[in-house]
């Protein structure tokens, strides 16, 4: 068999694996791969402006299409710049394969130019990683890496390829299907556990579904099944930040997001429920609040594909280790098989309606200034004219307002950095999402501070003619930091003011984009409409009320029932125990 270079083998593998887009940045240690890409126009390479941008683009692409995101960066700084995005993908279970160049094998360990211990650095922020020392092993590693990244609980996989391995040759044949020596994700549920779950659900008087990103990761079918089981049981549904869209916000059974900035009804329902069915979520600290006061009356069923998520923070009564879609399908089949009917949950719903009546997402109206919540609500209203809308966010108050006030009815339309909370995620994620969904309206809801963390990617959007929209809620603060300083440190605003902001409109123009400034409530609707109707990329500098805070809020270390609903409840000081929590 004719031999091929490692670089050619890599590119052939990517083509065989159906990879269409690679986000990358060239450099010395990946030049052979870039030369191979030059000869393989089948793969579209998107040249980013910073490697972190490449990783978040790959995440946005993956989250919005269900396909793995692929990143190609050079050794040393290329790899270290990618670390934040890799860690982000690990925390939010995003399938991603990152190919890094490495110095040639004989130079490894000599502190060579642009050498970094990439496998060492990324060992604990990847699902798995590889250093490939011979071109003959490259094909099996690349195929295995995609298998690991996309199956079980998805996550990032790094393949570190020394430059001489890219140049040396070996025979290449597309690997046959293989059985991994040790990696066996458990995707099918234990039937006995399914049977117990169905009986618990049928017997519950105050059930609630608490759903998360696992439903989205399982694929669109899982979202359909979630809707079906909710309809069969009549139970209310709440979701984590990562799971928004899996259940339609327009449904009467939807309680809104739960947790730190969740709705009053979602958190009280969790507190008073007698059965919580956790579907693809992980009892994160943003969700549970104070652990010893979390859902004290509820039996808990936990469906998760990752055994290590079970009993990690909250002890559950019935773990079901499986792919969420499979487990839901089994539960639905058995529910029907046993002839269960939805129980009369009238009393439960009456209590929920009582909590709903608090209208916890209400915000003060203003004629002088744009309330940030109103800006999101208007964006939601206006974007309904588009056939398909994808929203990405940065991290901070604007992210929570978007989660609260934008209604998602379908999965894969809401891209946000949940676990790691990475400022700088949203804009590159929007670029990745736009590449994977060229006909969708993709809007990055941003803050004035976080947009600056990867703003260099404006050039990427220009270069590839991607009509992404950046909608900045500009309050001239790192708003969430300022909010916590008000809550905890008697409003001592230590370094949370965004001084020396750029003129975002001029910045847009500098990159050949359209810039729109919205300064008052009267301009809001028209400004948003202009953004949506502009065919190319747009930055909207939406000047919002500077001191608005995000409510409701469960302060760190507080129980679900200790929500702050408005600023009048803020005392401005906290105990040391509460201060020490994140």
């Amino acid at each position: 068999m004719a031999e091929k270079s490692g670089a050619d083998i890599l590119v052939e593998c990517l083509i065989d694996l159906g990879v269409e887009v690679v986000f990358g940045y060239p450099g010395g240690a990946v030049l052979p791969i870039y030369d191979a890409l030059f000869n393989h126009p089948k793969i579209r390479h998107v040249l980013v402006r910073h490697e972190q941008g490449a990783t978040h683009m790959a995440e946005g692409y993956a989250r919005s299409t269900g396909k793995p995101g692929v990143v190609l960066v050079t050794s040393g700084p290329g790899a270290t710049n990618a670390v934040t995005g890799i860690t982000d993908a690990l925390m939010d279970s995003i399938p991603m394969v990152v190919i890094t160049g490495q110095v040639p094998t004989q130079l490894i360990g000599t502190d060579a130019f642009q050498e970094a211990d990439t496998v060492g650095i990324t060992r604990h922020c990847t699902k798995h990683n590889y250093l490939v020392k011979s071109p003959g092993k490259l094909a099996s590693v690349v195929h295995e890496a995609f298998h690991i990244a996309t199956t079980g609980r998805p996550g990032p996989v790094v393949i570190d390829i020394p430059k001489n391995v890219q140049i040396a040759t070996a025979p290449y044949r597309k690997p046959e299907s293989f059985e991994h020596a040790s990696y066996r994700p458990q995707t099918e549920a234990d039937p006995a556990a399914i049977a117990s779950a169905v009986e618990m659900l049928a017997a519950a008087e105050r059930p609630i579904f608490y759903t998360g990103g696992g439903v989205i990761n399982s694929g669109p079918e899982a979202s359909t099944l979630l809707r079906e089981i909710a309809a069969l049981t009549g139970a209310p549904v709440t979701s984590t930040l990562m799971g928004l869209g899996a259940f339609p916000a327009s449904s009467g059974q939807w309680l809104g997001m739960l947790g730190m900035h969740g709705t009053y009804e979602a958190n009280w329902a969790m507190n008073k429920a007698d059965l919580i069915v956790c579907v693809g979520a992980r009892f994160d600290d943003r969700v549970t609040g104070r652990l010893d006061a979390f859902a004290p009356h509820a039996k808990k069923i936990h469906i998760d594909i990752d055994r290590s998520s079970i009993n990690k923070t909250v002890e559950v009564d019935l773990p079901i280790i499986a792919d969420v879609g499979n487990a839901l399908a089994d539960m639905i089949a058995l529910w029907k098989d046993r002839g269960h009917k939805a129980a009369d949950l009238g009393e439960w719903w009456a209590r929920i309606d009582g909590w709903r009546a608090r209208n916890s997402l209400a915000y003060p109206e203003s004629r002088e200034e744009i309330m940030p919540q109103e800006a999101i609500a208007q964006l939601y209203k206006a974007s309904r004219s588009a056939s398909d809308v994808i929203i990405t966010t940065e991290v901070g108050q604007h992210q929570m307002w978007a989660a609260q006030h934008f209604g998602f009815d379908a999965p894969n339309k809401w891209l946000t950095s949940g676990g790691l909370g990475t400022m700088g995620y949203g804009f590159p994620a929007a670029i990745g999402a736009q590449l994977g969904n060229p006909d969708s309206l993709v809007v990055c809801v941003a803050g004035d501070a976080s947009i600056q963390m990867n703003i260099q990617e404006m050039g990427t959007a220009s270069q590839y003619r991607l009509p992404v929209k950046i909608f900045i809620l500009n309050n001239e603060y790192m708003g969430m930091v300022r909010q916590w300083q008000e809550l905890t440190y008697e409003s001592r605003y230590s370094n949370s003011y965004s001084d020396s902001l750029p003129d975002f409109v001029k910045l847009a123009e500098a990159y050949g984009w359209t810039g729109i400034r919205i300064e008052g409530p009267q301009e809001l609707e028209a400004g948003i409409r202009q953004m949506i109707d502009t065919p190319g990329p747009v930055i909207v500098d939406c000047r919002v009320a500077k001191l608005s805070n995000c409510f409701p809020m469960i302060p760190s270390g507080a129980a679900h029932t200790d929500m702050l609903l408005d600023p009048s409840q803020v005392e401005g000081v906290m105990s040391d125990e509460a201060k020490a929590l994140v």
Binding site: H124, K127, H180, S308
Partner: protein, 171 residues
């Protein structure tokens, strides 16, 4: 404010793993990254083709943490199987130590006498010193080393624990 510590228990975990580069760093790093304790860790390959290694880890933590440690270890791609010997016992555990003791006269005789009681072997000697080889549980070795400290202990080398489930079934 003061930081509270939880009561922990000792567990011996036995892992089979693919014998590949970085596997030890992956496992040791998991313990440091998640704040778990390692009291001892041993590793050696155990199959004729050198493809599989057995790693024995002695760790300590509250039961919930031990359960998490096992789940986190199982999540690592090259890990084949994790057995908590402490929970799946009865099991045999052994550690080997080399113990160097120096002294003359009565101390020398006492050292030999104690070694005999502990079934330690003399594997090296000079006029003024012995190296003893002792195997046993961690406790037994701790006791032996403690006694030798009073006689003229120079230094100790220990392997850490290895263990297997009793009976014919594999771990």
């Amino acid at each position: 404010m003061h930081i509270q510590e939880e009561i922990s228990e000792r567990h011996v975990l036995s892992l089979t793993v693919s014998n590949e580069a970085g596997i030890l760093a992956r496992i040791a790093g998991l313990f440091t990254a998640r704040g778990y304790n390692i009291d001892s860790l041993t590793v050696a390959d155990i199959t004729p083709d050198h493809a599989i290694s057995r790693i024995t880890i002695v760790t300590s933590g509250p039961p919930k943490v031990i359960d998490q440690i096992i789940a986190q270890l199982e999540r690592l791609v090259p890990v084949h199987k994790v057995t908590d010997l402490t929970d799946n016992g009865p099991f045999v555990e052994r550690e080997l130590a080399l113990v160097k003791v120096a002294g003359v006269g009565e101390d020398r005789i006492e050292a030999l006498r104690l070694a005999d009681v502990f079934r330690a072997k003399v594997v090296d000697t000079t006029i003024e010193s012995f190296i003893f080889e002792i195997t046993g549980t961690t406790d037994k070795i701790d006791n032996f080393v403690g006694l030798m400290r009073q006689i003229g202990l120079v230094e100790v080398g220990r392997t850490g624990v290895v263990g297997l489930i009793r009976g014919k079934e594999p771990n």
